[in-house]
Symmetry: D4
Subunit: 253 residues, 8 copies
């Protein structure tokens, strides 16, 4: 609950528009919408966020039982606004699209989404770069999220640091974007190099690409946390969603 809502609620009580019990009821039930499965609450949807313009409602599919997931998606689709479902397996993508044909699948990612029908023209430029072909899925997830939040997005892929000219060929993008998402696995060096070339915020996403001492993305994560470029912040391994979300937030400022 945001501070604004708390103040409003207190005013309602103070001015007699609400009783204490009503206020407590509000505090308990709003803006959460309950999803039930066999009589039990399996999810509390945060409807408030979804209702603000340009903020997609987001469902993390991974780890949820399919029945729970389907119930939650159904409830979310019953409300207007953009919707995003992340980390959906191939099998579940098929199953969910069969049932909810209004969902679109973003190529190369594990994301299903429904865009806002009357989206404003995108504003601001978010640059999404990645180091190798194996990082494209995560980068595309970031790009999708930033677009759903109203940003214009340009991508530049397979431009890792062992071939600097591949990165430097993105000159126009490096010069013009307001915020960057840089996705890399293995040693995770690309955000440092990009960070040194621009004076804008760089959001680094380590990926689980690589093998052996890549440790499923840990090496890239550590590399990014220790970046010698000061304008780099980091999100979880393979968390294209989070990077795109924050890029979208920054782009709105």
């Amino acid at each position: 609950m945001t501070p604004e809502r708390l103040r409003a609620l207190l005013l309602d009580v103070a001015e007699g528009r609400a009783t204490v019990d009503q206020a407590l009821h509000h505090l308990e039930g709003f803006p959460v919408e309950l999803c039930h499965q066999q009589g039990a609450v399996v999810a509390r949807l945060d409807t408030q966020r979804g209702m603000r313009h340009g903020f997609p409602e987001v469902i993390l599919a991974q780890g949820k039982q399919y029945d729970h997931l389907q119930t939650i998606v159904e409830r979310a689709l019953s409300r207007p606004g953009p919707l995003l479902i992340t980390r959906v397996t191939r099998k579940r993508i098929q199953r969910l699209r069969l049932r909810f044909p209004q969902l679109e699948h973003a190529v190369d990612t594990g994301c299903l989404y429904r865009a806002e029908e009357s989206m404003a023209a995108p504003e601001g430029l978010v640059g999404v770069l990645c180091a190798g072909t194996s990082d494209i899925a995560v980068a595309e997830e970031a790009a999708l999220v930033a677009r759903l939040m109203g940003a214009r997005v340009e991508t530049h892929y397979d431009a890792g640091v062992a071939g600097l000219h591949r990165l430097l060929s993105a000159e126009a993008l490096l010069r013009s974007a307001r915020v960057f998402v840089v996705v890399a696995g293995m040693e995770g060096a690309m955000p440092s190099v990009v960070g040194g070339l621009v004076d804008k915020p760089v959001i680094a996403v380590p990926t689980s690409a690589g093998y052996g001492a890549a440790f499923g993305g840990v090496s890239a994560l550590l590399g990014m946390l220790n970046s010698c470029a000061s304008n780099v912040t980091v999100v979880n391994i393979d968390n294209g969603f989070g990077a795109g979300y924050v890029a979208g937030l920054i782009n709105r400022l």
Copy 2:
């Protein structure tokens, strides 16, 4: 062997009710019941615990070969009292229920159980909360165990700390329970927040929900061990059983 039994045994010897050899025989064979498989001992069942009122006998299925597991379950079912089998795979649940129809399956969990036929009315209130939909399986395991130990249990699910109002809506439960089980994956922050809102013991259960730097529950585990709330203790990752068991024990005090 509990100290009480030791004293009793010594008295028996002292007062001639038992010879030394009988006593040693007792020490070797009681209260353990042996399960054999192809002539070899594959399990030593602790029958004593199961015979005390309200303590379920517990079998951890994971890691056991199916033949061993079935032998042990059969033996355990031959005695009265509540029985609980944890971490059973879907396939084994079907196979065991086919053979032992008296076993019930707890929805959303990997548990099979047989409740005590003449259970007393539950007493005391145990609150079981969880952070996300993905944590429900573990939370339900904890709730089941606490109920088998005679507690009244109320649950409040999908109430993670990034939406505080979802947690604060559990006001009534937070005010009335004697002990709490709080289940969370990812950053594992929920027990700290709950711990700050109540002055009762909070048993924190990290789950393997999450991905990347969640490291299969390690991040949540570390978060809980470092909780800035003083009333939090922790059990193993995904160990809903242990949390429910201790909550049941505390609730009996």
Copy 3:
């Protein structure tokens, strides 16, 4: 802020005893007392907890600059009730006692404290056991905290599992306590053995005693988290305070 306080505050507003601004002021300032250092807030003391009977106010000295620490201690001493300062270095103990002679030092620990003047007779029995002589400091911290919370405490030290008779000689204590704190370093096996001998909650405290692959307490911590005894929960390495606090809480139920 506890739910009770929220309800009361709303009632005050509803019934005109408080304006909305007063309520917000309350929400901002109460029950927190601010400590300033050179005009800046360096601590927000949670006075509410300290004011409840038998709950000590607790200050973690470690990591705080000395000036900040002294300011906070001074403010805390200006209020009645028990006070506990943990993880104080030898040098700081001397310095603080010189300035605040009312503080007592608990032998063998890094704790300073002020007991409640009119404490009720202790009730309930908490058993505190430890595995080796090196674990005594942590065990004594736990015992001190449980006593400050109104419990009767008995200790049994240097009784590790490689000499079972040393543990079994604690028969009387094992039979009579309501809750146990078991402190051990190295392999951390003692809570499992104690847990198997009693049917009460056991709070395990790993210590940093040991060397090499003890990894500063990590091995003991892992051993305890994987305990095959179901009644064991765990706190952070060397966290005698937390264990004693939870034992005190459980003992009050």
Copy 4:
């Protein structure tokens, strides 16, 4: 070298304002200024960054030999503009201030700095929050950097999640800042809670506060990387500088 400079250099060559050798000389020597020690290059100062309005030139003192450090500071002070030296030990602070009296020491931090003489009035609001008194040093470092980059900064300290009212009392700040820096040790849960209360970017800084399984900040770091709030990005342990820098960058957008 930024793309703009590359284009300019190429133009100079194309239009005869520079020979190829001059261009290569530029590429080799500019905008880097060399620091020599006993005839050897010990640092290549990036003068370009410092020359842009509101970007401080930054020197990381940690790990450098004192002689190298002093040489570098002397050279940097010879140019105009804001200067920041981070991670300076107490002893070195004294030594450097004795030699360079124009350096100011930021209270509670290991930072020395020289502010820009004619700084514009700060614009935009950056909120810097921290969980405990032990986290103040890192938070103050972040606040200092953001101020040096032209931001208005408000702080709210010792407001960890185990006492939610301490955090909620920052209502005004939570409502008005454009970007947040949240500093926390131990379980690192605070960024998740703050992230759920605001819809602005939150930069999380784990600190090495805590003990035992805090692992020098690793637990807090992992907690933050796994935050269930989508608007959280993370920097290295104790990296107040980086967080303040990115907050300053975002605030300028």
Copy 5:
């Protein structure tokens, strides 16, 4: 090459029984027997070991391609003496036994073996204990190896430390064996307790039984390495073979 062989070889050269080139040839080719696959050497069998009385020749199946494995087994079977193949998957067990019917499968393990036809009566007693039913496979592997090396073996299974009476019932075995193998997963506490009850060498085998913070046997391994009993040494996780081998060696002394 053992020192004895080196001396013999030098003598042969010195006394003219061998030329230098023959000696080098010996050094290159003996006592190694080469296995070829498609013209390439895929294994160098150490025939010397297998030829000494009572030392089985051992093949680790894991990690080998099936074709390589079969070639090696075939070659080994062409020589007399005991043979042991460890870590064979179920599927490979079937396939190998079909082809080499002289191989026997040890129940509950992944081992195939051929015992020495004219084995002497076993001598000396090796005690093999394990903590839980899930540890039986590893314990049986150890028992098999010790038997192949000529020892008499007695086992006592499912006797973990949370039920001490289950362990103490092995009184006779604890009193009479010359060396012990103790197999345990989870917290790995059993070797410490056994080590305290006997004054013979105890070889501890951690197993991968457990879940969550058991980390595939790492917790048990660390527990054993930190054992407070001085007579405990440790082998790799699930390495029943190695423990049985060393127990067999010790038993021969």
Copy 6:
């Protein structure tokens, strides 16, 4: 982009052979060849490397979606010169060879390749040794790469340090090679022993062979990094490709 190219480009601009825009175009597009998939760039091939004599063009298959992989392979095959595709699964090997019959499969490895048609006679000798049969796949990958780079390669397999005579029988190879690749799993001791026997560079490759505390090759990796032989450098776990590549480079010097 190599420095030579930069100089050439600048000269072109300076002497009017290229406009600034053409130069930038060059910087953006050369010597990279773009691979498109559904209109998007999925790879930037570094054609320059492949065009130099004896440097194979290399494609890492792992982590790439099959569609991306096939597009990239097709493009690469359209150019002359040696080509190597590493870490290809069995299924993909079949699928790719069906489509591109010109690709050969290197026995025992996951590599597909096309050798240069008119390769010069190999020069210099590279020694490739491995410790166990399970390490052959990685060793063969290294041998293949060194051969593709023009080296003569000799191998000596299954010669681990627990049977020194198996290693010493490689006397001729140890005496004559210019550089060594030593492949080992488990404790990774072989490079230290080889390193002590030769005074040439030794490139150590840890493999994921082993189980339990082998941790997928980490133990071998650590052993090699800590080698007491000074002539040992290390590559990533299972990175036969990298070791062969560097051996090939050194062999050309």
Copy 7:
């Protein structure tokens, strides 16, 4: 308590030589001797072990407060038989020897000891080898302990595997000892090589010698746990004491 004692105690009770309370008293107090410090028990000495011929009583000094340590040493010295105090700092060695002149200091180690006055002539040969000069302290600790347990000990130091001839020069020792202790830091490869040269048990001791990725002995520890020689078991990092103790035990068989 050993099973023998239990049987004896039961007989005493059965035959009227002891009452039940006396038996319980025995169980509580024997064979443990209590050390008090300021009225509290700080140690329970296991007098039984020390009383058996040739088993030294052992005190681990590390982690104990000096006052506790001195009390324990004083009590132990009051009984006859060999005594060993391990991991004593230089400062404490001086302090303890000043107070207890009967203690001897073993050169190059942190051990104080008192040998048994009338020790029998040593029997059996234990070989103690180490890899580098830095490992001598740990090796000497092992040698001392084995000698205190009645073994004849020969040492061979600084014979690491990167110079095989340094190891092979120990031919006579390798041929004649009954059991080996092999001490090594860095990559910990020496036990594997020694293990391959002998057919006796090898007890491997990793040391904390090395730097960087040696991780304080972890790399050596992992190397030894993964030894490809089957006759190797492992003890904790720097645990010369434990290795010497087990070697002594084995040597007595």
Copy 8:
């Protein structure tokens, strides 16, 4: 012992120039020179290596007791040829130079050395680069070693990847060296970028520079092991010596 020596020795025996016992004596004592301390062997010097032209004899000071170190240095100085002592603390440098004035101290490093009196003119060029001022000590160690092995060395320091122009200004060096040593801490990205710019072997040295998640060099180490440039091999953290040694070896080829 190298294979050449073995052959020579065998020939001596075969042709009567040596008896078997003499040969064994040789095998035991040559080319090792023993250092004694109080009658015990504390080091076996490998004199053979030092006697070959241009190979320095190397002593690792770290971990050795001072007395042992001094004995070893004295013995080494009694022989001709270059000598290098690494990882010497400041205090020991003073102490050793006082005693052995012929030792020189390499500025900025912990190395003492004695160069060969009649060194040939250096040949071949080794490039030594480092990322930051904090890495200079390690880089200088590498440069010193390569020089002692006869190479010409050029350095380029403080040229990390966040300011690419600082690296690109080393154009001439990048174009002309035969082998590179690249030293970097923090994220360790520099070897990847250098590796992409050159087609020569790159030896990467991670340093312990950095803080927090740099983990004393582990992050840099992991980054380098996962380098996307194929020509990179890695040595231990801070192991400038090893990198310089291998660079020197490669340079001689």
